[in-house]
Subunit: 359 residues, 4 copies
Amino acid sequence: MGNSFGKIFKISTFGESHGKGLGVIIDGCPAGLVIDEEFIRSEMQRRKPGQSKITTQRKEEDEFQLLSGVFEGKSTGTPIGMVIMNTDQKSKDYGHIADKFRPSHADFTYHEKYGVRDYRGGGRSSARETAARVAGGAVAKLFLKHFGIDIKAYVSQVGHLKLDTPYHKLDLSKIEDNILRCPDAKKAEEMIDYIDSIRKSRDTVGGVVSCVITGAPAGLGEPVFDRLHAELGKAMLSINAVKGFEYGSGFEGVSMRGSEHNDVFYTDQTGKTRTKTNHSGGIQGGISNGEDIYFKVAFKPVATIMIDQESVNEAGEAVTVSGKGRHDPCVVPRAVPIVEAMAALVLADYLLISRTNKL
Amino acid sequence: MGNSFGKIFKISTFGESHGKGLGVIIDGCPAGLVIDEEFIRSEMQRRKPGQSKITTQRKEEDEFQLLSGVFEGKSTGTPIGMVIMNTDQKSKDYGHIADKFRPSHADFTYHEKYGVRDYRGGGRSSARETAARVAGGAVAKLFLKHFGIDIKAYVSQVGHLKLDTPYHKLDLSKIEDNILRCPDAKKAEEMIDYIDSIRKSRDTVGGVVSCVITGAPAGLGEPVFDRLHAELGKAMLSINAVKGFEYGSGFEGVSMRGSEHNDVFYTDQTGKTRTKTNHSGGIQGGISNGEDIYFKVAFKPVATIMIDQESVNEAGEAVTVSGKGRHDPCVVPRAVPIVEAMAALVLADYLLISRTNKL
Amino acid sequence: MGNSFGKIFKISTFGESHGKGLGVIIDGCPAGLVIDEEFIRSEMQRRKPGQSKITTQRKEEDEFQLLSGVFEGKSTGTPIGMVIMNTDQKSKDYGHIADKFRPSHADFTYHEKYGVRDYRGGGRSSARETAARVAGGAVAKLFLKHFGIDIKAYVSQVGHLKLDTPYHKLDLSKIEDNILRCPDAKKAEEMIDYIDSIRKSRDTVGGVVSCVITGAPAGLGEPVFDRLHAELGKAMLSINAVKGFEYGSGFEGVSMRGSEHNDVFYTDQTGKTRTKTNHSGGIQGGISNGEDIYFKVAFKPVATIMIDQESVNEAGEAVTVSGKGRHDPCVVPRAVPIVEAMAALVLADYLLISRTNKL
Amino acid sequence: MGNSFGKIFKISTFGESHGKGLGVIIDGCPAGLVIDEEFIRSEMQRRKPGQSKITTQRKEEDEFQLLSGVFEGKSTGTPIGMVIMNTDQKSKDYGHIADKFRPSHADFTYHEKYGVRDYRGGGRSSARETAARVAGGAVAKLFLKHFGIDIKAYVSQVGHLKLDTPYHKLDLSKIEDNILRCPDAKKAEEMIDYIDSIRKSRDTVGGVVSCVITGAPAGLGEPVFDRLHAELGKAMLSINAVKGFEYGSGFEGVSMRGSEHNDVFYTDQTGKTRTKTNHSGGIQGGISNGEDIYFKVAFKPVATIMIDQESVNEAGEAVTVSGKGRHDPCVVPRAVPIVEAMAALVLADYLLISRTNKL
């Protein structure tokens, strides 16, 4: 179990890295939504491998087929099924690790949990699985766009290099201007160079993706367990390689005093209740308050490195895992659309649920 | 919706701060478990207000009644229902804020979401709700104890004061030795003094709770969406005042290289597959690997301060919210048992689910 | 597990026949609903034992306490918790069957499933559990009433005595005019006499409850698995002693030809699309079509009889189960409000879900 | 929503009658199960159209592709994805009913619910959707076979022609010996002739499918709402054209007295607790008792007839719906494998859940 996400607007995914194909079913997408296939395709392009020198050189075309749930260009309210066939299977690449446990991969844990495992390219534990999420998330984005809700993620840290500027002082329209997906061109260059040097040393490094949601109405979130940020946190933590999540003031807010941290309410010119600051990150008591929602997601360094490593095999014998294949030196540039996709799925779901809150 | 947590071992809670009572139903607790009521009571004592000079002076006895699901001292497999009656209601205390939105509280968002709200003491958004979680979590702990799984949380930061010692170099048996629940006596004293000074300045401050789970077998966690750490993250983020969650190397792991961060496998003397380091925090690919599971939870400063604050009321008029009542200057000492309770609920649930993974 | 029902408007129940108490949590009831406690009380009176000579003479007052989720008479959108304390516990009555398996009761199956069981009065398998459903269903009824949806059930068969008149030729306002809850006074008398004779012979007999839902809009039901009638069927089959469910033409429809059975559409004077006949029972393709929804529920004869029966005990030894206690000779008069309660819960849930179907 | 079924062993389906394709994801199938593709294929053959003179002459090959979740012939515990491409789309056939509401079809209700609908062949409301269920159910059957649980359904009524012999007096190995799937050869012939005459009159007729589950252990079922027969009932009522469900003594049991109906326990030679009769249909208190589980499912006459019918269109105008296309005169022969598939899904799910009942 565990391969579905959402309550009303819900996705279920399937597929392994080197199996025949993968896919997603979106159940609960309201009827009447214009399904722009070109947009879905463009989102998948943002995630696909082989985009630039700082991503894996693996080629996957990620062509999806829309099989159901759409009629004459509009969603019908029935499940939207999409499949993506794997073309670049090359499973022979993986014979050398068939019975070895790669350090900090999921080989050992899948082996312990299931007994059987598809070792080719990590099977289900591969980030290839996120292609299905991006397809599902693209539909969620189309739904949100209809209601004026926009989601933008960007790279805010690579290794020790941080972009400290708060999101509202950045020009988020520039995110796609560089291969890193960082809106600060200068910082981006520095970070790209760093990733490139890491790549040359056959190593990998971690990073942080920040995300901003604008246009979300007040009232989204279902206390007490399904608080909006709790679901966003789960969504983000379910992405490969994620180690941490914080929203609003996050871990730094800990050091603040209540008198500094509290967001003071005022009435704006339009008569709307607003807050002067936004340490709350747009969420109070687990419910959106109409301000921008923002959060950060920490990604660890990719586990696959091009350097030989010690390990053990299924028989418990000491073995060497040698670095082979085509992998990302840093996951964050391609993680940006995945973070957005998962955020979109949460927002779409909670927007629908909020229709049931009042009489 | 949103008031249930878990898939098999599931709790549903109800109750407001100043209503007649609150409670919890535990559904899915396996039959045959010895239900030690004394233990449940002791867990609730750890959470209850009025414990020390650094917690609120409010008196709540938190006496629970066990209404069902237990026969001759053992769980029967049917739902375990527990209620806690509110005795210290004093709802008149709250008249002065009936139509005001307290800064960084949930007053405004509940108002927007539901239209109607119980303003007394924050109603459902009050941390009083966590009493029901602790009662449910205590039963989960009893279940886990049966399988040798132990959960210990402690305070590792208050404001800017950090306890940097990694958990395995601390003596976790000393957590309950001081009113802060910090295993380092010296640091604890410093932090207690700091909280006390904050309290005297009528302000509040945030903190961090760390948590360690020992004895969990490999194989817990349900990829891809219901990864073990994703569910733990959601559980923690669903607790009042939480702003961030990280496990294993967390946000710091971002700066590491893959070659440093990867946890190398080896075979120990007993033939068991182990890792030399534990940057993974006991979880790889979303599944426990048999090492200790550890994570951190960030709590913001309590929103209720004893200092007057500007705000607006339901009519959008500028008002002053004056600090009154009895509140915690820092939430972390009482958050320790809540973190443990939520972690126990996740582990109990996933332990049961793991029984269905193999043929 | 298995003690929650519903997706958005959801109830969770707990409690045994002879435990301290039972209760229900309603999660997902929209905010702003006037909660008429007097109405809830009156619904519970319709279910409670000791109402008449044809029901058990057991006395249970079924006084509920409303603990949460309601403020100043209105629902707040937070969980509504209600408890009913057991006053007439008399558990000594049950010592004689502690280790015996009563024929066609749940004693044996609970023993096999859980190992431990509360044998007093059937524990959780007792129809006492339905008190919590009626409390929850009463709130659902209040919600539905707000939207003009009305649910009426009545007794349409006792043993071999059938009321063959179709529901729309009956005066449903007369259901409560007799102790049987059958709108045909003459038939009712006959059936009451029959039950009374069965009671005197220390035996029991089965019956059928019919139910009609008026005022439901078109569009309720979630194909393909959560069709409206599938959920209604599950709801009814979850009631104690139910052996069958049919809607619309039901089992009799099998013998009809398509040309007879099809409900021809026409446009009525108001411009509304209607059907000339209603073999569909108001549901087509799993979705309500705006016509009356109707269905039947079959109840087996109560398993507890006042006649000695052979059986075995936990040790597998032959034993005699002697008829003792106070039980219903026929369950249907008291089943009427339970059928209504479960139907109300389904309708309330699906009405809320339907708000998410379109853009 | 509504397109997933099951809690642990769960299927999610997608696809319309005349879209590009349909499919199923099975999540929660335990790892290590040998996935016999030939068996899945043979199950789908039993459901596919064009099998005999008494089924529709439409040709659909129903070739499925297994895309994921299976490695080297065994399930891996990850989701099993299967797709079936539609080859015989001929959507031009349906232009004549694009804006008409066919009587007793789902055209009107889908229109009301979603606004948008794929009118070609009924879209999602078509029985074509059950192909995905049969594929999923075949995997569930393989799982159950591993534990000695067998499911056999057969036709027991067509129109007014009933096979009254109880299941245990029939030779169920003969079900597949005739095109009707009725184990009594003589009755089968009579029923086949009847269907053929109905077909010639361009009309349709209903029928009943009976089902027997042998080898199920005691202990399956999750009271109170998720009783085994409640879930079986929901599963059956979710199949197209189903109008009723009964198990054990069913509607006939209503007329019996408790003293007749009760199933007396005894200890058999092997020391096992058994019942002398089985009016309970193998389920007591919602939990299997180890005896055979049996139930009946009522199917209405197929709504598509070859006779002209009055109706209205989307504009509310009177129109004639003329009978065209290739349809089944009676649905039951092809419903047999669907009933089995849904029963298998319920049993597989509950077998897994039962692993969590005891400590």
